[in-house]
């Protein structure tokens, strides 16, 4: 283990983290802080309005203990509580995932471009590090480290959120242990997210490769090249189709070529190749799509593997540019 931590590749990962910690870590933390602040503000608002209206949920007007009633009622319908908790975890995950998508997109777009622009590539290249290792460390950072940090912050945010609720519940005499902490389901949901990380790496490869390719290949404005080319090509193909001239299937072009080259870094983007089943209930659908069996199913689809191979080829091309591009 020590040998791994001290290996040059681990230092490359550390360097990527140092450079991108604002996006990888702090963007997630601040997002979670904002969400937690909203929770606190909602609770305060509720309390203020309650006291203005002179209501009390501690003791009923006729002396009956409302807590006992509430506890009793909830204990008869715990699945509702669990769903609430799951939803809380999933809402942190959704927002964290959206933030991560933007961070990782721009991370890869700049990964092999920013240090050419500020010429610090000349410093990195003065060290005994191969270009393959450099590019490899960037792939691992964006596709593995960033999602792991995101998943970690989601868990921390969930726990903080439930601590806030526990304090609130306890202040009203409700038992937070039976209501919140006795349930393992949200943590199971979290484990599913953790299990999605390796799948994410494979699924995201075509977009990672596409962004790294332009990041390494162009002299300036990698964003324009990376984004305009697929969209313009998609539009052109649609236009040709409109004219009735032989063309590539429009749905395939947008869905398989454009989307896979630009949008595969959206977490859980592989739901498009999943077996939908006939589910109508939203929580059930989410549970179904997050199941280990369905994740394993994605690993058996040609979409995943063809995309991964194309992605790896693009990463190899990016590495070639990194090695041989003359002007920085």
């Amino acid at each position: 283990m020590n040998a791994i931590v001290k290996s040059p590749f681990a230092w490359l990962l550390k360097r990527e983290y140092w450079e991108s910690r604002k996006g990888f870590f702090w963007a997630q933390v601040w997002t979670a802080v904002v969400l937690l602040a909203i929770t606190v503000l909602s609770i305060i608002t509720l309390e203020v309005f309650r006291s203005r209206l002179g209501m009390s949920i501690n003791v009923g007007a006729n002396g009956t203990d409302m807590n006992a009633l509430l506890n009793n009622a909830l204990s008869h319908n715990m699945s509702l509580v669990v769903r609430g908790l799951d939803a809380s975890m999933l809402s942190f995950a959704t927002i964290g995932g959206i933030v991560m998508t933007f961070v990782v997109f721009f991370y890869f777009l700049g990964a092999l471009y920013d240090d050419r622009r500020d010429r610090s590539i000349l410093f990195w290249k003065s060290l005994p590090v191969s270009d393959t290792a450099t590019v490899g460390s960037k792939v691992v950072s964006g596709a593995l480290i960033a999602p792991l940090i995101t998943v970690g912050v989601i868990l921390a945010a969930y726990v903080c959120n439930q601590v806030i609720y526990s304090i609130w519940f306890a202040a009203h005499g409700l038992n937070p242990f039976t209501l919140i902490w006795a349930h393992v389901e949200p943590f199971q949901v979290w484990l599913h997210m953790l299990a999605m990380v390796p799948l994410y790496l494979f699924w995201a490869l075509p977009t990672i490769g596409w962004l790294l390719f332009w990041s390494a290949a162009v002299r300036s404005k990698p964003f324009l090249w990376a984004v305009v080319i697929p969209i313009a090509a998609g539009a052109l193909n649609s236009w040709i189709a409109l004219l009735g001239i032989p063309h590539i299937n429009v749905g395939f072009f947008w869905g398989q070529l454009v989307a896979r080259s630009l949008l595969s870094i959206i977490p859980a983007g592989w739901v498009t190749v999943m077996n939908p089943g006939n589910l109508t209930d939203a929580p059930e659908t989410i549970r179904h799509f997050g199941s280990y069996a369905q994740m394993a199913h994605v690993f058996a689809t040609p979409e995943l593997w063809i995309g991964a191979i194309v992605g790896i080829a693009l990463i190899a091309a990016a590495t070639w540019f990194r090695r041989w591009r003359d002007e920085v």
Partner: protein, 305 residues
Amino acid sequence: MNAAAEAIAEQPASRHASGSDMVVRARGLTKRYKNAVALDGTDFEIGPGRIVGLIGPNGAGKTTALKAILGLTDFEGELSVLGMDPRRERPQLMREVCFIADVATLPRWIRVHEAIDFVAGVHPRFDRAKCERFLSRTKLTANQKVREMSKGMIVQLHLAIVMAIDARLLVLDEPTLGLDILYRKQFYQSLLEDYFDENKTILITTHQVEEVEHILTDLMFIRDGKIVLSSTMEEMGARFAEVLVNADKIEAARALKPMDERTAVFGKSIFMYDSADPEQLAQLGEVKRPSVSDLFVAIMKGTYA
């Protein structure tokens, strides 16, 4: 500094050692860009324990030659650096070769301690204690970001890192451009005092020739992609001479086929000679060794090739 340079110069001229001992050996080195030839089948050799100045006008191929040596560009011809091919064996080569290309190429986001940690992590020949000793002489602090430093401080950090790497070849491409005079003097002083020894070789390109002149042991002039002069400083001193000639002897001076003539004060002229007879020159006036920059100008004028 002069004493140090002379001590070095008195060592046996190792540049005449056999080819395999050479730090750099180029044969027919050629690099073509789309519209131009940057290196035109040039040959040169650099031996161990030398400080070589590669001097040439803009666009002469200096940077391309350095890039080829550092494995940063593809080329035609033969080039061996420390017995390795920079194209194929670049990561291994960079364990023994270090370079400072341009000023201020350290990434702006990095902190002093991060830069040191990182280099210590990836470079097997980096001596952390040494680097920290160099830094203790500066005002840099461990948590300082490059973004917050002046150009001079960035170079101090870069130099501290590079000098703590036990490399066999150090390449400096305009390392002091845009620095003020104090930092420039300090830069070369540190290199001589704390870094250079008989096992190391330093290759420098710079426009500020006067500043490196006294530390060089060897000189290479490059023009139009070819090395047009490669000489030790002693050879250069023995071969080239500059004479301050009074107006009455100007015709006699011209008769000795000077490679360059320029006007000095009080109607005198300065003549430069290549391999002239020292006794004849002494009769013309005061003889001295030409400065590298005057020699450079004379050679680059095209009156001599």
